[in-house]
Symmetry: C2
Amino acid sequence: MEHSYKILTHSVLFHGLDEQSLEVLFKDKLYRIRHYEKGGYIAHSHDECKQLMIVMKGSVRGEMTDFSGKTIVIEEIKAPRPLASGFIFGSNNRFPVDIIANESATILVLPKETLIAMMQQNSLVLKNFLDTVSSRTQFLSNRIRFLSFRTIREKIAQYILTLSGKGKNTVMMTQSQTSLADFFGVTRPSLARAFHEMEQEGIIKTERKKIILRNKEKLNNLLHHKPS
Amino acid sequence: MEHSYKILTHSVLFHGLDEQSLEVLFKDKLYRIRHYEKGGYIAHSHDECKQLMIVMKGSVRGEMTDFSGKTIVIEEIKAPRPLASGFIFGSNNRFPVDIIANESATILVLPKETLIAMMQQNSLVLKNFLDTVSSRTQFLSNRIRFLSFRTIREKIAQYILTLSGKGKNTVMMTQSQTSLADFFGVTRPSLARAFHEMEQEGIIKTERKKIILRNKEKLNNLLHHKPS
DNA sequence: TATAATTTGTAACATTTGTTACAACTCTGC
DNA sequence: GCAGAGTTGTAACAAATGTTACAAATTATA
């Protein structure tokens, strides 16, 4: 274990602690280290989630299997990140997805009790864990905002206006159009079409990843007539 | 404050503690109690969220103001529930909505430091808070699953199959069709139409709030050809 | 630099959903 | 038993998005 502390100092949960603090923290605590080969199942969807797992080496993926057996990759988690941290506590603490090793992977397993003890012993661990779970909430909450808009133009308007802040008239997209379409829950061609239409109407002008606001008022109006 | 402990024992954060434990817990801690009249602003959207607020009397609502000034009520929070508990920690700890008093309301304000101290002092408080935040994550996560399905029929299929579990062939809807439509992010008539079509095709049969599964295989197939 | 892989632009057509409006039904309190 | 509020059934038409396919542009990589 000793040689692993260095890795853990880079983990979000133990961020800010040095190796000595970690040694103190792990003393007399229950934990396990598990190895998985590529393709191995680390957890099954609907399994009870009563321990925190941190990927220490390699990477794992979350997969959803629908009722037909078709699988969809939801997310990839690389070392040294925790997985399913939002599902250890709460009223429905079960894995929402299957967790499978993407490659040979090493996982640190902390039972719920150990996690609680660590959080009470060290306020930094407590804050780190709360930050992790809360950031997730905030991400999901933001995502839902976008998914809830009826039309693609509304999503675009909200997206641009949020990024542009007050004075600015240009916005740089941080992600590809493809992944933005994914975030919005629409298809890529549809998103491209919407951008194009808005450009035709003189609302915006796009230059690859750069978006220039030409008519902020019209952009506002798109949200104006919003339902829901 | 003393007479308030009884109310707090019913709050999710202090659930399981008796009045004496609360007295010990609040001793030497910083906190405030604030009163708001109907319509008063308790917090503004984008304000920094650095304290936990618990509604002790009355009720408040979360409102979103879009760029045009139109407001949408997101949620109502009644006593004795905490508000915005998922936004105190995390990387973007700002209120996502405006918080406004629905009626005359009393709010207990716990600074972040007080909250941390209480969680470290009492493991029940720690667990309760983590349960609150995590339940939120789980709710949002589930909501996103439904919003991500392309078609209404897919949402319905997922909904019914999840509720029906293994053997059962009937499902009772716990909410009105109207609020289900809301949860799905679709309009009510569209949802009704989808139900009707599926009934025509012999997949299900609806009797008001009761849904009878007539062809589980076809229901599975709806998810089978799922994109995304 | 050449080549492959990824991203983006664009179009025609099919599908799905929204909109609006009204009638029928159910439930509650009086 | 009845009035009124809320919920559900239904339909015609409009609007938005998905699907598919291919070319062009860009970026990564050998």
